[in-house]
Symmetry: C2
């Protein structure tokens, strides 16, 4: 897509929200900013560093807003994302997955020359050797974190001995610097129940405790222990292991995270849904449904279904009708949509939903006030 | 993503396939060209026009190859896709979904000035009126097709009277021209069994027969009746209703379409898988799995699971491990992957998989020979 898409000319126009060419990914700026402020205030009280994860939003403007709200820097999941964020001026970037594929160590070393602060995780001595070789001619060391697998069975070392071996490999290289330890229990972040999530987190973090103990035995006490996510962030400080949190979804929320009890009790949810797809009723020829112009090319399909957040009759539910279409299933609803009516649909799983779109349409009430490029969209390599 | 991505410098280099930064969406050009040739030869024998659907590939270079192989033009699902394809020089474009959302009729009318040949479908008199108004100051009529709903309960008119009303609205406008009728039974294209699909197609097409009969009664015999897809294309000419086919997936195939019996019998499948994601083993710390750098941000998740097509141990299966990661689950396999090994994974559902990527890495054997921008990726509005 060239530039900011078909709605660029509407920026600033009163009532422009109703005139958006759809489907359009929209961000409620008031709610987004309230979510940033709520997280920043909580982190300040809790005394933890925030390093929000940009894999969720892939949007330099959001990363900049997070840093402005007090984050120490951001995380990226891929080298490609990090290249985009560094180019956008983000000063401190941690790449949270090992850079193993062809060309990746070289690209990381090249980025280390351009970035103000860059770090990458590693979980295997061979990868540490590849990073060291790639950065051998660099003018400053590349910072490398040990990643520990805490229950996801994904990346990270398994076992304290393997962790010590990776740290020793990092510390024995002149071209590398040991930055700390990462442990991310991604699989439990979306567990709705607070107590069940807490119990699972206790279990998950046991390997991290073991690795930290083994490192202490060789005199290594990591300055930074980073990890966690929106689901566990209020537990992690109490657990006493992490001092830097990689929260992501809190700033826009989604249908999946709306089911998560963050605070353990009856308190109001601290973060509010701010991310929606605006769609238009393009077919009203059926008695039981209307068809909107939003299908599985604008919504993630790995989580729960998208959910109506405005415009649709009360009681109506969303159903996918292929790549470009969705159905407003009326069910017991009494109202009906007219041709051209607009509906607002909450994103089901925010990360892969945002990754389908090129721009975020930023709204204040009924006005389109800005369009932000999702500049790292698709930067998967 | 800027330009052609991190692998641009590898174009033309011997053995470059093994050096791709991953995950990388790859197109086997030999197979792709064989698929184009097989479809073109079949259509020529069958005496039907081909208008392949570009919603599948969103790639001007593929559209150009299809036209070069004899297609009369292409289809687009969205106005945004059509804008990209017209800008890329495609001479004849049909937009296959009604242009209802705000700004869409105006954009279609503007595109009608730039395109050599453009058409759009409509299924409601109010939308016809909006198109007529938008094109009122145009220097030539906008071609509009009636869309008939043939069982998808999505877009299209339901009932012969509604169809006649739309056609009369089109024909009564000075700024519009009636182009023909579209009927697309998308829901049955992926039915694996030939006979079951045939029976379903017979049922689905009944409303089209009724509309064509009602139009004949008022003296209207559409020049073009367009529709169908890869699943039904060998049946549609026998059915005697369509004279132009909107095939899409045939040119790259996917796991889902590999289950479809196109020819009704024991013959070899006429189209071969040509679309894969190349990924790298980035973690081999587990006994039962390796982790690759390909997750649900590079594969569609609405269909079957991705399937290994090369590099993985025989018997291993793919499992999603989140947004950026997948697991090579060894199961009973004897072999193991080493850190940095490359695997090739067949796309599960081609349309939404391609829509996740910015470029296609075109391979001849082990050489990267070109990179094609997926220029209409994300052009959902």
């Amino acid at each position: 897509m060239a530039g900011l898409g078909p709605n660029e000319a509407l920026i600033g126009a009163p009532g422009s929200r109703a005139r958006l060419s759809t489907p359009a990914l929209v961000l409620d700026l008031d709610r987004f900013e309230a979510n940033l402020a709520a997280m920043a205030a909580w982190a300040s009280d809790a005394g933890v560093r925030l390093r929000p994860h940009a894999k969720m939003h892939k949007t330099p403007r959001i990363a900049q807003a997070q840093v402005a709200a007090g984050a120490v820097g951001i995380c990226c999941a891929t080298v490609g994302e990090a290249e985009v964020m560094v180019a956008a001026g983000i000063a401190d970037v941690l790449i949270t997955s090992p850079a193993v594929a062809p060309g990746k160590p070289t690209r990381v070393a090249a980025l280390n020359r351009r970035a103000k602060q860059l770090a990458v995780v590693a979980d295997h001595p061979d990868n540490v050797a590849a990073l060291a070789a790639a950065n051998a001619s660099g003018d400053r060391p590349l910072t490398v974190y040990l990643e520990v697998d805490v229950g996801s069975a994904r990346t990270g070392v398994t076992g304290a001995a393997a962790g010590v071996a990776v740290v020793e490999a990092i510390r024995s290289s002149d071209s590398l610097r040991f930055g700390g330890v990462q442990a991310y229990a991604g699989y439990l972040q979306h567990m709705p129940d607070y107590d069940a999530r807490w119990a699972e987190l206790e279990r998950a973090m046991a390997p991290l405790r073991e690795v930290l103990a083994a490192l202490a035995e060789i005199g290594v006490r990591p300055e930074v222990v980073t990890g966690g996510g929106s689901g566990s962030h209020r537990m992690d400080p109490e657990m006493g292991l992490l001092n830097e949190l990689q929260v992501g979804s809190y700033c826009v929320m989604d249908v999946d995270y709306d089911r998560v009890d963050f605070v353990g009790g009856d308190g109001a949810p601290p973060y509010l849904p701010a991310l929606f797809v605006q769609a238009t009723a393009i077919n009203v020829n059926h008695d039981d449904t209307a068809i909107v112009d939003a299908g599985l090319k604008v919504f993630a399909t790995d989580g729960p279904l998208p959910r109506f957040a405005g415009g649709a009759p009360v009681g109506a539910t969303f159903r996918f009708k292929g790549d470009e279409h969705g159905a407003v299933v009326y069910g017991d609803a009494n109202e009906r949509l007219a041709l051209g009516d607009t509906v607002l649909i909450q994103a089901p799983h925010c990360d892969p939903t945002i990754n389908l779109h090129d721009v975020l349409h930023c709204l204040r009430g009924d006005r389109l006030v800005d369009i932000w490029p999702i500049a790292a969209r698709g930067a998967s390599a």
